[in-house]
Amino acid sequence: MTALLSFRNVWVEYGDKIVLERVGLDIDAGSFVSIVGPSGAGKSSFLRLVLGQEAPSRGEVLLDGQPMRAECGPDRGIVFQRYSVLPHLDARRNVLFGLECAGARVTGRLFGAARRRALEEVDAMLDAVGLLSAGGTYPAQMSGGMQQRLAIAQALITRPRILLLDEPFGALDPGIRKDMHALITRLWREYSLTVIMVTHDIGEAFALGTRVLTFDKRRHDPHAPHRYGATATYDIALERKTEVQGSDAE
């Protein structure tokens, strides 16, 4: 029971369409798990399970040994490829949002000394992702890379147990992507995070992960392609490289 997150014979079915079958996995605290696989192999379904957006049709998902509630909560943070930040708030207020949700159940806003204390924490987090000088900027005025940095800062402020990344760098330029790799590696170390990242980029999966999972269908019926679901076909543990190539994040 040392695993942070366990999958016990998990199935996901929609009607008679089977998406995931017999998924049995343990994910240790502090690991960086990359998930790759062809489109339609259930990567997104797997992520939705961990996020709590969906419940398994069969089997169970355990978080710290306890069955996980099928609802999103602050113990699991997420960064999507797009739409991860709130467009009507500037960078500081975007990061502050998580603290305000926890600290002000009724008004949803912090005031006075509590707000000042929270903002100090926010600025430290913005500094960690290199956005301190852009605190008053709205997401629409930011580049794609800045928006993803903001999304990461916003997710980390609530100190989630698990950080989920859903193709977080897929829409970024190659150069920016390198910087983001360095950034996420540094944050993963500094905050001792457990990261689960879905990606299309196999190079990225191996460069960042301590463990790479590939999802695919083991069996395939050409007459009924939905008859069999995907599962983790390869599970590769990696000796973690000491430093990701490319420039360190500023």
Partner: protein
């Protein structure tokens, strides 16, 4: 150069925009003058001078019966009804639209009802309103509300529904409750759309106001033009219509300004 590629500059656009309006005024003055040359007592196309003198009386000379300055009293009464109707509609659309757009249970419960009400022609309900609320202010304000509220609710609710799922999920992973999702995520992003819906509702709101006033009122802009119609008083009707248009334009402009000032983040995305 192709016609579709010729883009007028600022000054040219202004001149071009004024041109048709000026032409219309010119044609009117010409037609009015020619009618008056044949029949000096013509009432159908009054001269500008006749309109000015008629309006001067309504603006500055107290009415012998009521002691009020007619134009201002009419304007005040009409704007009061209009603004009350708009305010109640906007507030209701905010609450109901937010609940409908955000909470699937509420949508399942009230969505069909709102759709049905939106499909009833509001004027057809006017007799019912007069019977229920009498001929006073309430019925007129209610007509405006019934006329514009369902459309506003549907518009705003649809906008809330189209907010990206990712955003809602992200906010939930940050610990937001349903209430916090409503007031911190959905509501602020809905506000520009609400103001926009209000702007679009201004036109119908004026229609319902004038209709209600035409049928049963003793004061108001709509009441006045339908009253003086009996005397073919085009010298009053035309300036009144122009004044109503001016008020409508001013309200629209104010709302557009408010949207730009209050929600600067909404423009660029």
């Amino acid at each position: 150069m192709r016609l579709v590629n010729i883009r007028p500059g600022r000054a040219t656009s202004l001149v071009l925009g004024i041109l048709p309006v000026a032409a219309l005024v010119f044609v009117y003055v010409l037609a009015s003058a020619s009618r008056h040359a044949i029949n000096p007592g013509d009432r159908i196309l009054p001269t500008p001078a006749a309109m000015v003198s008629a309006m001067h009386t309504l603006m500055f000379v107290p009415d012998p019966m009521t002691g009020r300055l007619t134009l201002w009293a009419d304007t005040l009464a009409s704007l009061q009804r209009l603004c009350l109707g708009l305010a109640i509609s906007t507030l209701s659309a905010l609450i109901v639209g937010l609940a409908l757009g955000l909470v699937p249970l509420v949508r399942a419960l009230f969505g069909p009802l709102v759709t049905i009400i939106a499909l009833i022609p509001p004027i057809a309900l006017l007799p019912i309103l007069f019977i229920m609320f009498g001929l006073g202010e309430t019925a007129k304000v209610m007509l405006i509300i019934i006329g514009i509220l369902p459309v506003m609710i549907r518009d705003v609710a649809a906008h809330v529904e189209t907010l990206p799922t990712e955003q809602m999920l992200k906010a939930q992973t940050l610990g937001a409750s349903s209430w916090q999702l409503a007031i911190r995520v959905a509501l602020p992003q809905m506000m520009p759309r609400l103001i926009h819906a209000l702007r679009l509702a201004l036109g119908p709101a004026w229609v319902f106001l004038i209709s209600a006033e035409a049928i049963a009122a003793d004061i108001g802009l709509g009441y006045r033009i339908f009253l003086v119609r009996r005397y073919l008083a085009m010298d009053i009707i035309l300036p009144y219509v122009a004044w109503i248009a001016l008020l409508a334009i001013a309200l629209d402009w104010l709302l557009r300004l408010a949207n730009r000032r209050l929600f600067p983040w909404a423009g660029s995305s």
